[in-house]
């Protein structure tokens, strides 16, 4: 039930006194309440749970984590590991 989907804020507007937004989830647009992410701007990403934005995605942190792992994978590949298609090590998988 605690499922949260990241989506991009396309538009921000007021509805019944609440800050609302149209959120784009990979092409599907749906409305969400943005009262809990009051500083969010159009173009930023938010995690939406049950119709409410609950967190602004820290894009730097998201990419940092992925890039760090990609870098490690590259180093491993240089050391003779195959991370690109074939199993790295049969005993691992």
């Amino acid at each position: 039930m605690c499922l949260g989907i990241p989506g991009k804020v396309e538009e921000i507007f007021d509805e019944n006194g609440l800050k609302m937004g149209n959120i784009n989830y990979g092409g599907t647009i749906n409305k969400a309440c943005l009262e809990y992410v009051p500083d969010i701007e159009v173009g930023q990403y938010t995690v939406v749970h049950a119709g409410f934005g609950i967190s602004v995605i820290d894009e730097d942190e998201a990419m940092k984590s992925i890039e760090a792992w990609e870098e490690l994978a590259d180093i491993a590949a240089k050391d003779g590991f195959d991370l690109y298609g074939n199993p790295l090590d049969e005993s691992v998988l």
């Binding site: 039930m1 605690c2 499922l3 949260g4 989907i5 990241p6 991009k8 019944n16 006194g17 609440l18 989830y25 990979g26 969400a32 309440c33 009262e35 809990y36 992410v37 009051p38 990403y45 995690v47 749970h49 049950a50 119709g51 409410f52 609950i54 967190s55 995605i57 820290d58 894009e59 942190e61 998201a62 940092k64 984590s65 992925i66 792992w69 990609e70 490690l72 994978a73 491993a76 590991f81 991370l83 690109y84 199993p87 790295l88 090590d89 005993s91 691992v92 998988l93």
Partner: protein, 364 residues
Amino acid sequence: MKYLDEFRDPKISKEIIHEIKSIVTKPWVIMEICGGQTHSIIKNGIDQILPKEIELVHGPGCPVCVTPLETIDKAIAIASKPNVIFTSFGDMLRVPGSKKDLFQVKSEGGDVRIVYSPLESLKIARNNPDKEVVFFAVGFETTAPGNAMAIYQAHREELTNFSELVSHVLVPPAMEALLSSSTNRVQAYLAAGHVCAIMGWWEYEPIAKKYKVPIIPTGFEPIDVLEGILLAVKQLEKGKYEVENQYLRAVKREGNQPAQHVVNQVFEVGDRKWRGIGEIPQSGLKIREKFLVYDSEKKFSVGDIITNESELCISGIVLQGLKKPYECSAFGKECTPSNPLGATMVSSEGACAAYYKYQRIKNA
């Protein structure tokens, strides 16, 4: 989709598995709290590709699963009333009460509607002033801000035909209840990422220190879960027990303070019964006195309904990580997703339902 696909990359997953394997020297038991994480682990076969030293046990973090049977019976009693529009997230409708489920109430003519947000229930209340509109407010800390906002907004708009049947539970008291049990096996937690998005992770610091367990707020995609396991194993191997945030892109130490503020205005902490576990002191949220006119239990006088669980079901033991679903004699026989006997089979996020769906009859 951005911020989902990157965290499902098999190349990176292999790298993390390789690193876990290279550092693990002893057997460790790690519990993922959230049912969403359980689902991700079983769906992606994460438990099967980890080194044999690491055992994942599945925690109580599925609010659908831990909502007591008697609360389901209260929902059914309210939804069966003639002037009521009963609204709920879809996954609560097929949870069986002691005699029927909410879908059956609907098939018998009850006005039961699925909504995707509590604000939709509020809209239904605005558009139907001659009806009583009830929202089934079930969930953990993640869902509480939305449910609190619906009550707060009803109060601001002076809507008197809206109320919530509240069964909110809190994660930290359940974590402590498990750790303080004499049968506890858990040595590290993957904390529920979206609960932490709301509450932050500061409240886990005293738990990590008191029980000497690493606690890792963790996301839901395969790379998140694997990275959470890696951080936990690193700490376990070094004898450390700290709160270490894996889900950096969505979780801050202080959490979402505007959300916490509204939750604290509308709800207060109280004792709460968990299906399969029993009553845990101070483990739930209830509506504050100022907003009691929005409490469906009071409005419809269903507070005295009490129901007992099936004696065959061992979901309480599964929720504590003491047994795997396939160790239950009823699993896949008397108990299936279409005829669930207990907590962990009722929701797709429950451990038994996930094992059933992905045909995990027993571990390879």
